[in-house]
Homo-oligomer: 151 residues x 4
């Protein structure tokens, strides 16, 4: 999308406040690196707590931050009061995730009234070099007027 | 698959030992509930540490145990010494994951020499009732002769 | 789903009438083999018109009948006047599709108000033997009150 | 991928010759619009033969050309004599496919020895305007030394 226009001028504060409520992100040690209209980056430092049996970052941890990046990219373009839920996602793991940290860059491909398609590139960083390790596409739902499902 | 025959008679001990090395599973609080040829169940008690912003289990946590269940179901049928890696997966989230715990039931759909397809049903349990909350399909790769990638 | 109840008693005639309007199914030579609540089977005889370069049925042809089977399985449970559209699908090709004909068996996994998840097994038949060649999962949207989008 | 280097200098002739053998592409009326290293475009004029019940291009027809574009993009980077097979793909349908013709632009995201990830954007063209209607990601397998599976 070229220069999408957020409906909610408070989109960044809203994304950051919602992210802070995601217990899983704190458990993994992930944080928000960047928020802009239609785009959100999430970073995860590599630690034993997020690995699988061979010492790579677990596909589930990669998917977790990639899904949150996609979802929050979608939320930046939703109207105030609407909540975002993931309907489905698919992730291709292209290379073992190793290095100092992994970075998930989510961006909206198409924002619709009910469904939004977003895509996340995940790169592993080692010694300042980036390597593409995963690609996720997600369908996000806009939830409106549902009790308890805001942001 | 009907009654698949494991090549490795020590498949159960092997799956349990590999699972114990997955730092992420310990971080989330997940454990193995069942191992049989071509099938592995993983259980995750619900706690604030694995939730998203609305109080549901985060799609990434659901995907993490569903991916591990699929991967270990595949591993039960692999030859001794081979390692398993996820090439890709897709997950559909059917309902918010709430309740006392969620249970991921992975099973092999087709085991091939290089690629295995497995599918995981995830149910949420509340007061002894089960509800289907997610369906994952995964492509797993058999890795042989690669240093550091066993089990 | 266990014994889903169709809201529209005329579901079978409705599916068959809609299928007859799908130009692509006629072009491929596909036909409906069975319609029941939440389940639709579509059959495609093998012919050079649907093959790829190695003489197997093209993944796109496999996907076409698998998608239609999933979509019409979903339509059997939709209210009269509603139309069905595919939001997304994923297909795993498990073996080359060869033989006399291929058969796609679609069934609803979960019918929701807006989104329905359906799954299709595709088997190739040769000399009366069946072989599983593909597995598709699809998200279908219920379209209501949209001009031109009925059934 | 930035400027991928084809191993086979005859990649374009090879792709065109293989495409000519795909019976399905002829049946649908699709043709190759462009071949370059790591990228292949396929075009499909809109006709009743490829529609679904509402008059849109059938998701299966959209997927068919998107899958072929992804597969042939992958083939441009494969060694001489290797064949390409689709292991799996996922497609998101973003808008009804209408207009004069649809165009599938496939490109390689990452070429591996065994598995290649490719992505295809599909646009519908009407009166010279393009609209994004679908996004496909596919995993392609390189087949070597298998009788009958070349190109």
């Amino acid at each position: 999308m070229n220069d999408p226009e957020p409906i909610d001028p408070g989109f960044e504060a809203r994304v950051r406040a919602s992210f802070a409520k995601q217990g899983l992100m704190g458990t993994l040690g992930a944080s928000i690196a960047r928020v802009s209209p239609g785009e959100v980056d999430i970073v995860l430092p590599t630690s034993p707590a997020v690995l699988q049996q061979h010492g790579f970052v677990h596909a589930g941890a990669v998917a977790s931050i990639a899904d949150s990046a996609a979802g929050y990219a979608a939320l930046t373009l939703m109207p105030p009061g609407a909540g975002v839920l993931t309907a489905e996602f698919k992730i291709n793991l292209l290379a073992p995730s190793m290095g100092d940290r992994i970075l998930a860059r989510g961006r909206v491909v198409k924002a619709g009234r009910t469904l939004t398609l977003a895509q996340t590139d995940v790169v592993a960083e080692r010694d300042g070099q980036e390597k593409l390790v995963a690609l996720l596409t997600a369908t996000l739902m806009t939830m409106e007027g549902r009790a308890g499902v805001g942001d």
